[in-house]
């Protein structure tokens, strides 16, 4: 069974600075996907970034980037130029590859890291 571990229950960062959230996972699968979701106080789950395990290049989305280390099973999220609106719970998630008409995976979440951006 796959597991996702986020070892930092809470973190804080000053506005405009950079922060890195950690995530490790355990799987025997070779083909899978990793995600970071953001949950602000509004409760909405928002997809931040997605990484395909077969791609060596780290995914980036504007101020958000990941450091994907497949051998180490590590998938950290870096937020640059932190903004007050980045204050939220951040969840790392794993999904094994789904095939059309084949196996049905499901999204497995870590326990989350509560990030506070301070002015």
């Amino acid at each position: 069974a796959q597991t996702v571990t986020q070892s930092q229950p809470e973190m804080s960062v000053q506005e405009a600075e950079t922060v890195t959230l950690s995530c490790t996972y355990d799987t025997s699968e070779n083909n899978y996907y990793l995600f970071w979701y953001k949950q602000p106080p509004s409760r909405q789950m928002i997809l931040v970034i997605r990484q395909e395990a077969y791609k060596q290049q780290n995914a980036t989305e504007n101020r958000f980037s990941v450091n994907f280390q497949k051998a180490a099973k590590s998938f950290s999220l870096k937020i640059s130029d932190s903004q007050l609106g980045d204050t939220a719970m951040y969840f790392c998630a794993f999904m094994k590859h789904e095939n059309y008409g084949g196996s049905q995976g499901n999204l497995i979440f870590g326990k989350g890291t509560k990030l506070s951006v301070k002015p």
Partner: protein, 113 residues
């Protein structure tokens, strides 16, 4: 707007009652899910339906029954509500094979008193 919409957003009810949460997606996805988020914010899958067929049924009490009248709808019915059922319930959808992750509804906060 293309989205996953679930109703109601808030639900307060007494122990022993029966309640339903509705979910609809207009994204053309073929798979829908129910997740439960507990008081510690942990998200755990409850059910998954693909084209109206039950795919995943995690260890959930029989009091919880999903119903999918078509692939755009997945409702959650809960019988004989208990205090421990208080949580936020999220509906989500995806398309098998696209592997883009899930699109979530805005959640339903259920409080059992």
């Amino acid at each position: 707007d293309t989205a996953v919409s679930q109703t109601p957003k808030y639900l307060v009810t007494q122990m022993g009652n029966d309640k339903s949460i509705k979910c609809e997606q207009n994204l053309g996805h073929d798979t829908m899910y129910w997740y439960k988020q507990d008081s510690k914010k942990f998200l755990k899958i409850m059910f998954s339906y693909n084209n109206k067929e039950l795919i995943i049924n995690e260890t959930v009490p029989n009091r919880f029954s999903p119903k999918s009248p078509d692939k755009a709808h997945l409702n959650l019915h809960i019988n004989s509500l208990e205090l421990g059922d208080s949580a936020v319930y999220f509906c989500a959808s995806s398309h098998v094979g696209r592997n883009y992750g899930y699109t979530f509804g805005s959640g339903t906060r259920l409080t059992v008193v």
